[in-house]
């Protein structure tokens, strides 16, 4: 259960990180607390949208989904259910793949690094890792 709880806390942090970037994109926040200026370069680039949708919005929806999934999976009654573990692993795995794509864009196309994006990359990777650990736990408990 501690893995799912950890995933829930991490996803909640991810919700706030992506909400912060989305509020910036919507013009509700003037300056990103970034330090390098790279955040604004990335957020104002055409790559800050994917198929016409703000990447920050995609991130927000993804983290909210992971948060709900991890919260439901953290209930004592769901402790030995494998479905939450599988869904967490699959969705966070997709998130890691998407993050790799975005990080490659930052490094090789935009030539700027957004610290908040790096923070999000760390969060989604950690969620993926704890999801895999949780999957292993449930499988061994069921076996």
């Amino acid at each position: 259960m501690k893995y799912r709880m950890s995933a829930a806390v991490l996803a909640l942090v991810g919700v706030f990180v992506s909400a912060y970037l989305l509020l910036y994109k919507m013009g509700r926040i003037g300056t990103l607390a970034c330090g390098t200026g790279g955040c604004e370069t990335v957020q104002l680039s055409r790559w800050s949208q994917f198929l016409g949708v703000d990447v920050a919005l995609i991130g927000l929806l993804g983290y909210v989904t992971l948060l709900l999934l991890a919260m439901m999976g953290s209930r004592p009654a769901a402790a030995t259910q494998i479905a939450p573990s599988r869904w967490l692993a699959v969705l966070s795995g997709l998130g890691v793949g998407f993050t790799l794509y975005l990080t490659a864009l930052e490094l090789f196309v935009i030539h700027a690094i957004c610290r908040w994006c790096v923070g999000s990359a760390v969060i989604i990777t950690l969620i993926f890792v704890v999801s895999l650990l949780d999957l292993r736990r449930v499988r061994s408990a069921v076996a």
Partner: protein
């Protein structure tokens, strides 16, 4: 493998603490940006207006000077800028008939007019006035309902301003005096609505392109041949 109630309690406390911290952080960020404001009714110093007569477009040898008194938050001004002004620019200003002079007349009834005019002035510092001017009018529905300062900064990024210099310009309100001078000039002339145009010593309310053309052509026709 059911979790102990104390484990669940600790989990919910952690979630609550993280949620509270996140909400507090976002709230602080939102309020921080809204605190940027440009004061009205400031004393105008000679340095505020030295060498500045408005934002100009067109050749200085044009036979007619049109001065526009406008407010970035006024919907009629936005309509004029988006619908009519492109024709005026292409067929009168670029044709050498008109020299355009834009003056700010930020109405007190509009919450963000002065801030918008100041954002444009800061863009002028970096040679991007007209790009910013167009974005401000095009984006009026997005910022007039709130979050204006953040939107203006976003436009500053889009037009390619140095955002550090832009922030410094906005936070120092360095053009508050210039804006006040522009406002005072309009009041002294009797301007009481926006947009208003000063052409050949007469004030005109909002004009269509055809009306502009007639006024401009009549002034040119009345001028003695040189």
């Amino acid at each position: 493998m059911a979790a102990a109630p104390s484990g669940m309690k600790g989990f919910y406390v952690t979630i609550g603490v993280v949620a509270a911290a996140g909400v507090a952080f976002l709230g602080w960020q939102l309020s921080r940006r809204n605190s940027v404001s440009i004061p009205a009714n400031v004393s105008v110093l000679p340095a505020d207006t030295a060498g500045f007569h408005g934002y100009m477009l067109g050749t200085d040898s044009a036979p007619v000077v049109v001065t526009e008194y406008a407010d970035y938050e006024c919907p009629y001004c936005a309509d004029f800028d988006i619908v009519t002004f492109p024709d005026v620019k292409a067929r009168l200003i670029e044709a050498g008939k008109v020299r355009w002079r834009y003056r700010d007349f930020p109405l007190s009834m509009h919450k963000y007019s002065r801030l918008a005019a100041h954002a444009a002035a800061c863009a002028d510092d970096q040679g991007k006035y007209w790009q910013m001017h167009s974005l401000l009018y095009q984006g009026q529905p997005d910022w007039a309902s709130g979050g204006a300062a953040g939107q203006f900064r976003k436009y500053a990024g889009i037009v390619g301003l140095d955002l550090g210099a832009y922030d410094q310009c906005m936070e120092s309100a360095k053009y508050a005096g210039r804006l006040q001078a522009s406002y005072d000039e309009a009041v002294a002339l009797g301007v009481n609505s926006t947009p208003t145009f000063l052409i050949g010593g007469r004030l005109y309310p909002n004009l269509s392109f055809d009306q502009f053309q007639r006024v401009v052509d009549s002034i040119i026709a009345a001028k003695p041949a040189s």
